[in-house]
């Protein structure tokens, strides 16, 4: 149990000196640190980017090595295309089943007969980005590598409907297409 004495002892800071046990010097050190950080921020620079005025793909920001998203960052989705430029998705609805936020809505339809290589594709593929929690389960559930989460940071919009991405938008949702906007000088 968490309340057992041993456990508590173990969780205490390792120091056993009086100063450690009084805890106040550590508090003071902590306060000193935060104050340093505080003034450091005031005088130096912020770790954040003025998004969306400054694009996160802005090269200059990347050079400064801050504000550039980690490639493993889970941002907006993209529907992957195959060699012929058609969606890879076969509308298996597994992402829909895996989605904990219920933000994916798919309606399958048979493929045109000339496709040949598969039988079904999505007629409607919608992701409600406002509901999405960017957990990446859809990506994991996808058996065809048809849906991916890109590092693309979401673009602010002024209406909710704009945040419901349809199939065409998801197919074109290339992170490289997110053009950086510099703040006007």
């Amino acid at each position: 149990m968490a309340g057992s004495h041993d456990h508590v002892e173990e969780a205490l800071p390792p120091g056993k000196s009086f100063a450690d046990r009084v805890y106040l010097p550590a508090v003071m050190r902590g306060l000193k640190l935060t104050v340093q950080k505080f003034f450091g921020t005031v005088t130096d620079k912020h770790a954040t980017v003025q998004y969306p005025e400054v694009g996160i793909y802005d090269a200059s920001e990347a050079e400064r090595a801050i504000g550039h998203p980690n490639p493993r960052y889970r941002g907006e989705h993209i529907l992957v295309k195959d060699e012929q430029g058609r969606e890879k998705c076969v509308a298996c609805l597994l992402c829909m089943a895996a989605c904990p936020a219920l933000c994916i809505h798919i309606e399958p339809e048979p493929t045109p007969p000339e496709w040949g290589d598969r039988e079904r594709r999505p007629k409607v593929f919608e992701i409600d980005m406002l509901r999405c929690i960017y957990c990446g389960y859809c990506e994991e559930a996808c058996p065809c590598d048809a849906i991916r989460l890109t590092p693309k940071f979401y673009t602010p919009t002024t209406s909710r409907t704009e945040r419901v991405y349809d199939k065409e938008r998801l197919l074109e949702n290339n992170p490289a297409a997110q053009i950086p906007q510099r703040p006007a000088k």
Binding site: V27, G30, K37, T41, V42, H46
Partner: protein, 407 residues
């Protein structure tokens, strides 16, 4: 023509209303500021920017100018922000005010609605007993045919003699609001938060009260003004209890954090464990009132700490007369004079805000305690220490009644 006479009663009555408005007004003004600074400090400590969107710009000033002169301000300059994000608290307030009120289906309606009120009312009441400035003396005068009788106005909304005791009594009622809100929400997380809050506040009430007692005992008065004066008059103005009773001051400070549910003792609101704490199920104005009550409680406690341990409104060794010089009319600068009082209020506010700043500072520095650690600290460390301190103080007072260390 009968001369209109302003009796001390009438003046006092009017002054009380004005003081009440002032206190509430101040509190309500400090809260948004506090929120803004809290966010800003948090951001800066974390190398972020913080709120910077909602604010006036220099360009806003154009709207105050005649149309022909608007071009005076160049476009570049017009974009410069005046205190970036400064209007964020206003935006928050508007948002909260217009948010839909949602009452959970399984909530106990009465308790649910009572919760925020019970949080705010005791704090508001307690603020009345806080001495926030030097005593104002309205001299006998005849202004524009109105006879004014000499009136002594204490700079606290209510100047009952055991004011500090009242304050202590009333401020501890705040926990009822939290308990009501937590229970009334009909949800398990608020309930757990409420239980935690109740236990925590009851626990820390003990060292807080004892530290309080030490301060009172050291001064020998329950009157707030008397406590401040005592500190100002001892040790050439340096007789602040923080120097005379440092341990008690520390205990009070720590207990104060716990009473206010502030980090590192914010277990009733621990987000990772309890979603939002006791106000999880609240939205809109009820949530705002909870929020307000919480911040007012912070202001109250900081004021109390200022009063008890930091010499209240007194400027320390400096006499206000020295500040203003003797050139100004004694009515204004002398003790009880209006400038003197204003200065003292300013001093009090600055001290109080400093303590408030400390609270914010601590919040972004220390991690949250575990609940058992919290209880250990309260009962096993602070309470015995406070008791010991009290005992020693009591013995010293009884043995050396005139020992200057205390008096």
């Amino acid at each position: 023509m009968t001369e209109f006479v302003l009796t001390p009663g009438m003046i006092g009555f009017a002054a009380t209303i004005l003081k009440a408005l002032f206190v509430i007004g101040m509190a309500l003004q400090i809260v948004p500021g506090c929120i803004y600074f809290e966010r800003k400090i948090a951001a800066y400590v974390q190398h972020r920017i913080g709120p910077n969107r909602v604010n006036f710009t220099i360009g806003t000033l154009r709207y105050l100018m005649p149309e022909s002169m608007r071009d005076v301000i160049p476009e570049g300059l017009a974009r410069v922000k005046l205190i970036p994000g400064s209007l964020q608290p206003l935006a928050d307030a508007i948002k909260l005010a217009f948010k839909e009120e949602v009452i959970p289906e399984k909530a106990d309606k009465l308790l649910y609605n009572l919760g925020p009120m019970l949080t705010f009312i005791p704090v508001g009441t307690a603020l009345c007993f806080l001495p926030f400035g030097a005593t104002l003396i309205v001299p006998d005068a005849n202004l524009f045919g109105i006879e004014i009788q000499r009136t002594v106005i204490e700079m606290s909304v209510s100047n009952v003699v055991p004011g500090m005791l009242m304050l202590l009594a009333v401020s501890s009622l705040g926990v009822y609001g939290i308990a009501c809100g937590g229970w009334g929400s009909g949800s398990k997380y608020p309930l757990m938060a409420a239980v935690r809050a109740a236990a925590q506040m009851v626990s820390y009430e003990v060292p807080l009260g004892i530290a309080f007692l030490i301060a009172l005992a050291s001064v020998g008065s329950l009157d707030g003004q008397e406590i401040v004066r005592n500190q100002a008059e001892t040790w050439h103005g340096f007789g602040w209890l923080v120097f005379r009773q440092p341990l008690a001051a520390l205990i009070f400070l720590v207990a104060m954090f716990a009473e206010n549910n502030r980090l590192p003792f914010d277990l009733p609101e621990a987000e990772p464990e309890l979603v939002g704490g006791y106000h999880t199920e609240y939205t809109g104005l009820k949530f705002a009132i909870f929020f307000l009550g919480e911040y007012c409680a912070m202001i109250l406690m900081c004021g109390l700490f200022t009063t008890l341990f930091l010499g209240g409104w007194s400027l320390g060794p400096i006499e206000p007369v020295e500040v203003f010089g003797s050139t100004i009319e004694p009515l204004i600068t002398a003790e009880g004079g209006i400038l003197n009082v204003l200065l003292s209020v300013a001093v009090f506010t600055v001290k109080m805000l400093s303590v408030l700043l400390l609270q914010l500072w601590i919040r972004w520095t220390l991690p949250r305690f575990r609940y058992d650690q919290l209880m250990d600290l309260g009962w096993k460390v602070l309470t015995p220490l406070a008791l010991a301190n009290l005992a020693i103080t009591a013995i010293l007072i009884s043995k050396f009644p005139n020992f200057t260390f205390f008096a």
